[in-house]
Subunit: 349 residues, 2 copies
């Protein structure tokens, strides 16, 4: 997120963000007596040193995250096994408050009505005991707008074979990165058991803009080659085109492969240009891609079940409402709310 | 911030946040075959375990922060000494890129004009070499809206005696908290050398709402008694009131002390009610107070010089503009941006 914000930020500044600033800091500084200005510069040098210490802090947080990833993993593995039906949880493992509540409600309610509804339920759900939790991941993809925007109808039968999504962190001493792993069961679409996307990160202040440092940011990403079965690649479509021979006037039909919208284009990434020479579209695509990678890592992987049931979505919605309300009430406040968000660092990004 | 968001969140839900939700998760869950629902409950139990691990992670991050606070401290002490004029930085310590740029610009510019402007500057700044960086902290108070909103004219002469603001973290093994310390030089207003405000935090999932856990949140705060010199307490004002004796009809004038707006009310906090029986106003005041405490800790103390020069404010403004722009373009996106902010944990909060 910080990477994205940072980029957009720069864009805004270039587009004339300077316009309605009441007092520029260059102006303020130029107004100061020389001796004072000198001292302010000394403080700025100290501030750069702070930014360098902060970078070390974020590196240590990253270490902590690696350590905790190992603690979460057994729980995530268990989740995968329950989702795929490899393991059937015990009764104790399934006890949940709402079970008891429902039982009590049922006891009080008219039994007859309950029986009718049970009968109805059986009609609409023909398979009474499917394997694991069917359509677990695809339900999440459909529920989260950021993902459903990418999802095409032809992606759905493929994503039904998605068994698990995991995040792996870079090893100590390696450049900071995280890898999203999409684990598939054998399927009729491609040979890969795992599709990967690596997000490379940077956790050091930029020499030219040390004060903009707000913690690790995603700087680049890399997808993977999908080994599609013949004719199954949904990221391309074949179009037929009529070609007229100029001299002879004969017409022939040629087929041509063109890109096709698909979630699986996620593994076929736009490369961040090293010299910053990207057009706006590519820049936007890349920013969106970073945002999606961050979202998988930060929200979906750690809380998948809450996106499946919709609980996480409800939180997000009421949060969004609250933001709007606050904005209305406090429209005179100069983005302090934003400051905070800016300041909140994101150890997993 | 998280504490505040959380609170506001709940408020929204109570006020009818349920209204326009397309599919409630209770509905989705009730549609699932019994065997599947059972497995979903098993995943929820795993999710609670994840939240408990996450709480330990945040505790370790807090330890890290304590460790890094000690690394920052010498730089902050140096800053204080330069601001107060106790230490004069060396030429080397004051070298800053803009010095060189300005020299080059000057060389190119018409020397005469520069001379005129220098002369002007001298007129407007009669004291050519004051002690340290005069009005350092009060300039910050005036620049940041969240603080200037609290600032009254009668606070300014007092805040000119503010030497430093520091943050201290709770000791290992103690309940998580941080203390803001406002260090004053001897002054004619009160006897305290340091005014303090403690923010108490909580870093464990709530038993009744484990999925709402998003990291440490501020749960309470405590100010301090200010030992005002006689007649100098700006947080109260004396009003005269005429009283008529009912029987005799005589009129006498009585004086009465009533609360007065002042930044120093910050040390006279609203207490968070343990049973949640607060009116909306108090809840709002408390939320604002938490936000301010967080802002001091997270932004102002670590980057004071950038608020003094205005550089941090410019960042915040362009960040705010960008947010608006994004909102316009992506108004159909269901708060994914917000999710991220929600998910970004704040290790210093």
């Amino acid at each position: 997120m910080d990477a994205i914000k940072g980029k957009a930020d720069q864009g805004m500044q270039n587009q004339g963000g300077q316009m309605d600033k009441p007092v520029s800091f260059h102006f303020l500084e130029s107004m100061l007596p020389k001796a004072v200005k000198r001292r302010v510069h000394a403080l700025k040098r100290l501030q750069v040193q702070c930014a360098n210490i902060e970078a070390k802090f974020y590196e240590e947080v990253h270490e902590l995250e690696r350590k905790y990833a190992a603690l979460y993993q057994p729980l995530f593995d268990k989740r995968r096994d329950i989702v795929t039906g490899t393991v059937e949880p015990t009764d104790e493992e399934c006890e949940w408050q709402s079970d008891r509540e429902e039982e009590e409600e049922l006891a009080e309610a008219v039994k007859e009505k309950a029986t009718i509804e049970d009968a109805k339920k059986e009609e609409t759900t023909p398979v009474e005991d499917p394997k694991g939790i069917p359509e677990f991941w695809i339900t999440i993809f459909k529920s989260v707008d950021m993902l459903s925007d990418m999802l095409q109808e032809h992606d759905e039968p493929i994503l039904k074979h998605l068994k698990d999504i995991q995040v792996k962190f870079s090893e100590p001493g390696q450049p900071m990165s995280f890898t999203l792993e999409f684990h598939f069961e054998p399927n009729g679409f491609f040979n890969n058991a795992v599709l990967t996307k690596v997000y490379k990160m940077k956790s050091e202040p930029d020499a030219s803009e040390p004060f903009n440092f707000e913690g690790p940011e995603i700087i680049d990403c890399e997808g993977c080659q999908i080994d599609w079965h013949k004719g199954k690649d949904v990221t391309v479509k074949t179009i037929k085109k009529k070609q007229k021979h100029k001299g002879r006037g004969t017409v022939r039909t040629v087929t041509k492969q063109v890109p096709n919208d698909s979630f699986f284009n996620f593994f076929n990434p736009v490369k961040a240009s090293p010299d910053g020479e990207m057009d706006e579209d590519s820049e936007f695509t890349l920013a969106t891609d970073f945002e999606i990678g961050h979202f998988f890592r930060e929200r979906i992987i750690p809380r998948a079940v809450l996106y499946f049931t919709g609980e996480a979505l409800e939180d997000d919605e009421s949060f969004e409402e609250e933001e709007l309300e606050e904005g209305d009430e406090e429209q005179d406040e100069e983005g302090d709310e934003d400051d905070d968000d800016d300041g909140d660092f994101d150890p997993k990004a």
